[in-house]
Assembly symmetry: C2
Homo-oligomer: 351 residues x 2
DNA sequence: CTGTTAGCGCCTTCAA
DNA sequence: TTGAAGGCGCTAACAG
């Protein structure tokens, strides 16, 4: 395996010094166009690639960005990652993958983050649904380390973030059910640690209140977004004497559980019960009945977050501080995808 | 942002030299247990993390492994990645993610690979379904760069690989259909570039021939594993005067297309047509009817491949060459998951 | 067993 | 506009 060339080699070949080659590589201004051209040609001919580790060590940028993701098992992660990696592939950066699983305690999560930092590899971080780690990331960002979060915005944080508009999505879904005539609409809440979860709950409440309906605590149960976590809530709802005519599940996974439980109770959807989910992950379109759900633009979220981070890196590496651009944030719209899991309630009760 | 500590700092704090710290960090043998203990304590207290770039530059290993994956959009990728990242997380390595999309020409794929090499970051590579890039990877491996492939074995290659037993899986699926009484079993073939695709086809043929049935070319059509690519083949099969009583789709995605097309033709599954898929990706269990399919142990594949690569890295870094262990390979068994998409043919024709 | 001495390949002043 | 020199944090001989 032929020894890798160094800038020294191509310096010799181009008849210049290492410094000049370095300048060309880093597109500095003060290089004679002719020289630059010559150096570039040699680099091309030799298919020379600069050693990132050395560059990093010598004080340059690392051209590596880290991505901190929750369980890759979540079906929606693949689309987000696809968005991210498409952008990164077009850039001079490479992507580092760090994953955190839900059953890691906070302390362990912080350890992962501190490893990312201290190992000194990544020069920026993309955090997907960081949940409880958010405050720590904020701290990081404020210390000058580029971070972009994909999630809903939580406490006023200065960290740039990209999210789908969870509140509006949930609002639209609830409103849809309301307009069909439903009045007893149950909600299966996701874990409160996640901003997205809170925002959806808010949207649900907003729609209800706008319709002049009170929030009925008995119609709200908690799941945790994972498969089967919607079963218990569904069981409770469907066993009620005055059971709800519609259920809005905090995410699709939990909606699937409702389907299962409803089936067990001999209830048919949408005839006996309307059902709406949130996310629009792949299975949803294939269910029977196909699930009406709020679609999140996962690919776009990944793509835009990556682009945002890249732009932050460019800025911090060149001149201007992040003084000008306070609080970068992008909120993407969600779409209510109407399929066949909803219909007007059989017996519209008065109110 | 407090200056990052270096081994020099912790050397001072522990009252030893940098070399000793380095030895402890790299778990070398020749260190006094007491000294080691002391150094370790300081490292712990200071939450020191070694700078990988510097370590790499100084001639050590890079503690970075690359993963080369095809489109992350494939639903099965997330499980494979989960297996990989679980293993990597438990190791001192970090994971680099490179993705290749199908519409990149071979040349572009090679470029990605050569970038991986020349950037000199990864010290090993995990290639998932490399398809046409396989020969190039083989070359790499033979030049001494650790590579593990996740796919079916192709031409006799020396590269260590992990795969599901695609042939046997397809054989079992076909046999299942045969035993139910089906005789006209159509097959939707995946792209021939993929080994896995070829192996499944082989399994299909083997089962048929074992049953004394000839391979009927009109019952074989080609898709490419992607969504909707199974529509055209399904359309052809279901429009035949003497249409097949069962269809075996090369993967689940294409089976979904058969479902759609069958529905359009007013055919009910499994009453009018039996259907088997391959992969068992998440939606399959939720379809109506739930799809009978061959389950691949994706998580395991990722896990074992990562473990294999890690062991290769250990070996090459320490003493023994890879002389002893020729042709490492792991073949995992698949499971036929019987659900509700198959039944005996309505009218069992004589043969 | 431990410290000393050289670099690894690159970027960055500082002069020229 | 360019070259020379120094050092980033670490590992790897080589002494002791």
């Amino acid at each position: 395996m032929a020894r890798k060339l160094t800038i020294r080699d191509i310096a010799r070949l181009a008849g210049v010094s290492k410094s000049t080659v370095s300048r060309v590589l880093n597109t500095k201004q003060d290089v004679d166009p002719a020289t630059r051209e010559r150096v570039l040609r040699v680099i091309e001919e030799q298919t020379f690639v600069l050693d990132m580790s050395a560059a990093k060590l010598a004080g340059g940028r690392s051209r590596l960005i880290g991505s901190l993701v929750p369980s890759l098992a979540w079906p929606l992660m693949s689309e987000i990652m696809r968005g991210i990696s498409d952008v990164v592939a077009q850039s001079p950066y490479e992507l580092l993958l760090y994953s955190i699983t839900k059953n890691q305690v906070h302390e362990e999560q912080q350890q992962v983050i501190s490893r990312i930092l201290h190992s000194n590899l990544a020069s920026g971080l993309l955090a997907v649904f960081p949940g409880p780690a958010t405050p720590y990331l904020t701290e990081l960002y404020e210390k000058g380390f580029p971070v972009v979060i994909i999630d809903d915005r939580g406490e006023p944080t200065s960290v740039p973030w990209v999210s789908a508009d969870n509140r509006v999505g949930a609002y639209a879904a609830t409103r849809y059910l309301l307009q069909m005539g439903h009045r007893r609409i149950a909600y299966i809440q996701g874990p409160v640690e996640y901003r997205a979860s809170q925002a959806r709950y808010q949207g649900y409440c907003d729609a209800l209140q706008e319709a002049g309906l009170a929030i009925d605590p008995t119609l709200i149960q908690q799941g945790d977004f994972t498969p089967t976590s919607g079963c218990a809530p569904a069981e409770i709802f469907l066993s009620m004497a005055d059971r709800p005519t519609a259920i809005f599940a905090g995410n699709d996974q939990m909606a699937y559980d409702v389907l299962t439980v409803a089936h067990k109770h001999g209830l048919r959807i949408p005839r006996d019960l309307s059902l709406v989910g949130f996310d629009d992950i792949p299975p949803s379109a294939y269910l029977s009945p196909p699930l009406t759900t709020v679609q999140q633009p996962f690919y776009q979220m990944g793509k835009q977050a990556a682009e945002l981070l890249l732009s932050l890196l460019d800025v911090s590496s060149s001149s201007a501080l992040n003084t000008l651009s306070k609080s970068l944030s992008i909120r993407l719209v969600t779409d209510l995808v109407v399929r066949d899991s909803c219909s007007p309630p059989r017996t519209v009760k008065g109110y």
